[in-house]
């Protein structure tokens, strides 16, 4: 099963297995990792599962579709960067084994 490392804003890292087909958001929620709120439960409707993708993973993970709901919701989130994504929109696949994401200082 692929592994994902979630790094909290304070630096605490959590490495957990996330099954293929499950979202990166769900992986955090299922493992009670703090820092991802996921208020809407994965509908791309709240932007409270915002993460930063570590640079070496950016190309493989990809960007939100231009003009789509994720881009729109992200545009209302705080402290977004070039490598911001909503983790509910990233589905785990085998080649993402080892993925590292960082959390912002809060979800809004």
């Amino acid at each position: 099963m692929p592994n994902v490392t979630y790094i909290e804003h304070n630096g605490t890292a959590h490495a957990v297995d996330v099954p293929v087909g499950t979202s990166v958001m769900q992986g955090a929620v299922d493992n009670n990792i703090p820092g991802i709120d996921a208020d809407c439960g994965g509908e791309c409707a709240c932007a409270t599962c915002h993460v930063y993708i570590e640079p070496e993973w950016e190309a493989l993970v990809g960007k939100p579709a231009e003009g789509g709901m994720e881009a729109s919701m992200l545009s209302f989130a705080a402290a977004t960067q070039e490598n911001s994504r909503l983790s509910c929109q990233i589905e785990m696949r085998a080649e993402l084994d080892g993925l590292v994401v960082r959390m912002p200082d809060g979800q809004h």
Partner: protein, 419 residues
Amino acid sequence: MDVSLHDSALENAKRDAWSRPLDSYDMSNPDYYQNDTYFPYFDRLRAEAPVHYTRDSIYGPFWNVVRYKDIMAVETNHQVFSSEIGGIQVEDQPKNLARPSFIRMDPPKHDEQRKVVSPIVAPQNLLNMEPLIRERTQNLLAGLPRGEKFDWVENVSVPLTTMMLATLFDFPFEERAQLTYWSDVAIANVRDPLSPVKSEEERFDELKKMAERMSALYNERQKQAPKFDLLSMLAHGAATRDMPLKEFMGNLALLIVGGNDTTRNSMTGGLKALAENPDEYRKLRENPGLVDKLVPEVIRWVTPVIHMRRTASQDIEFGGQQIKAGDKVVYWYVSGNRDPEAIEEPNRFIIDRARPRQHLSFGFGIHRCVGNRLAELQLKILWEEILARFPMIEVTSGTERIYSNFIHGIRSMKVRIPA
């Protein structure tokens, strides 16, 4: 309403809800919310007619959307379900008195204006504001009477939210009662005998006075360097600095109501819920760490905003019904938040739910409540400070609610803190 009176009113409502023809349903009647008798009607709609057409009401015909998932689907499809065509309440604003604001706009203008003000409630600024909110909460609680009855709304919920608003606007502190007054004016149902305004014209005139007072401050801020308050942000924001008067009125009213009414009613409704569920209150006293989960459950339970409305911009088949371009679509948060298909045991108040944040009270999609995390912070601090200070607060009366189908407002609730 008195508790035993309410029990019998609810029994009558149950009989009525399950026997009357669905065709005759009109959930826009504020009586249901003033008396808290709406539950069985929405239970039946969710079960039998989840997308239901009300043919006749004083606001004209409209669709009702009552299930959690369907409400989410409407809110995330802003291309079809417009906020701009007809506004966000079942009751239209009269055309000549309409006050646009970004909650009543679609992209792109909505996005541009929302982004001007949203940094004030971003996580970093909440950290900056937390000590001030805590100090004010501590001072207010320390001054409450012991061993005698007093009104929780008047002495706690209103003062705390009013101070917060004054800070957000950097509004003169000694004039801050005006902010609460304008908030009440903005949401009042003019047919309510206790409403501060009795007609739409009167409402418009009062909100115009608000705009006049605010524009004096706004003009000062425009001349100063940008700072971190709502008026300064509006005055310097590219998308907001040249607003026409009606839009200025609309956006001010939006920010005042948004920052005030919802939190005020959650502060009151949360205590009411705990008093009515003594086992949950005990659980909380024994484990104050549950406050983080209590707060979202209170916000679900209270559901301060009763409904939102959209207008179809095109024909669409939705939930097996044919909705036509121009139709009013009203979705009921008070129903979705009690939908057993989305929330386990939705009619129980449970302060340690596994996923308490999954509720509809803030809405979803691009119009999701911008101040949600600030509201949660205010409630969290209030409960942390209450638990640190008072072993018990007794609710000694029922609640008196406002006459509204939009804001589930509590006008008064008497309490007593044992000496």
